[in-house]
């Protein structure tokens, strides 16, 4: 049942060449193209573009995969972290420490706060960027299971943690994840969201660094406040608006500080 006059939208023309058009619209689109030569030319141009892209890059899949991309190589490197640490240290030195997550492991020989703090703050910002854009899997355990989440992460980090209650600031706990930290140890990651869909995260990592008060670090569009309290380093990350982030970080700081006044064992 082809209706030659049935209006065809530009979206349908794209869907047509991308194989996304519902079968019952094929006839209508084909009839439309037969009677609208300008659209037919345009569709042909889009096809030519796609062919050019495929013929330019299609052959890459037949190239031999370089050794450094073999999974066994990558797994091997992860199992022998000292090699990665040595390599990362060299890279980090060359980059002047600006290399973000490449700098993992740099904290080990340096007892003072700055190097280690930089590494975990960079890692926290990377985790923030990576996971806050996730639609389907932003967290591993949802905020609905708050007690379970906190208990699980506390167990994995071997110290009592707490997901601060930021509801008074309009932030709902979406949930959290367990992540590998810059030196490979377990790290807890909590994510919050406000009604506008803006996301804030708190990254908690066991640390040997000395206690440090709130410090601000701004990256591109995101920024962080970090501090170290009783061998746990915290990073609160969010959109780069200092005042707002400060309020959230300060509220988190106050709540987490109270929690940690009851330390377990030597932690």
């Amino acid at each position: 049942m082809v209706d030659r006059d049935s209006p065809v939208t530009p979206d349908e023309l794209h869907a047509y060449i991308d194989g996304e058009l519902p079968a019952d619209r094929h006839g209508a689109v084909e009839a439309w193209l037969a009677s609208h030569p300008e659209d037919a030319v345009q569709v042909e141009q889009w096809r030519t573009q796609a062919d050019a892209i495929r013929s330019r890059y299609g052959a890459v899949v037949s190239e031999p995969v370089p050794k450094r991309l073999e999974l066994n190589q990558i797994i091997l490197k992860q199992r022998r972290p000292w090699r990665a640490v040595a390599a990362a240290a060299v890279v980090a030195l060359m980059l002047g420490g600006a290399g973000g997550w490449v700098a993992r492991g740099m904290a080990l020989p340096v007892p003072a706060a700055p190097a280690g703090v930089d590494a975990f703050t960079a890692e926290a910002l990377n985790a923030h960027r990576l996971y806050t854009v996730e639609v389907r899997h932003p967290v591993e355990v949802t905020g609905a299971e708050r007690a379970h989440l906190v208990q699980w992460l506390s167990k994995r980090l071997d110290r009592p943690l707490r997901a601060p209650d930021l509801e008074p600031m309009g932030l709902t706990l979406i949930g959290g994840r367990l992540l590998p930290g810059p030196t490979g140890g377990p790290t807890a990651f909590f994510m919050y969201e406000n009604p506008n869909g803006e996301r804030f995260t708190i990254y908690c990592m066991p640390s040997q660094a000395q206690d440090a008060a709130l410090h601000y670090k701004a990256a591109e569009k995101v920024a962080a406040f970090y501090w170290v309290d009783r061998r746990v380093a915290y990073v609160v990350s969010g959109p780069a608006e200092r005042k707002r982030l400060w309020d959230i970080a300060k509220a988190s700081y106050d709540q987490l500080d109270r929690t940690n006044t009851a330390p377990r064992s030597g932690g």
């Binding site: 573009q49 890059y57 890459v60 899949v61 999974l71 367990l178 591109e220």
Partner: protein, 171 residues
Amino acid sequence: MREIGDKAVAGFRQSVQETIPALRRYARALTRDAELADDLVQDTLVRALRSEHLFHGGDVRSWLYTILTNLNRNRLRALSRRPTVMTIEDNDAPDASGPEGGARDIERALATLVDDQRTALLLVVLEGLSYREVAEVQGVPIGTVMSRLARARAQIKTYLDGQRPMLRRIK
């Protein structure tokens, strides 16, 4: 205390392994630089394996495309702090001469696209992802994917049309 069994791990790794050639193709077209592309793929694989224990089923391929897309976006953000990137100079104009002309043209045309549009176009045209999958990779509604595709195609056409001397003069 493993959260997934050995069998699941093997299946996961096999899926990752099988996707590597396609990831290289996607990264090559995204960056138009073979070394840079393989760096991105390597970072993607490292991240995927590090987060292996976080993966609870689903489509491994889409997930890898998502990681690579995010890493590339971070890379471009870092680059954009420098002022010199992506200015389209006269000597960047299309060059139709020789048999390589077409390949170079499409490469340069891709370079003129906004990142999100280039990503959407390549995922659909080169990687064969459905609109729905691209929407998930980019974290946007399907309608946004479609408008990115439309803009990408219009921009490529504008760029390629620029090789006609008449139009170039107007510019």
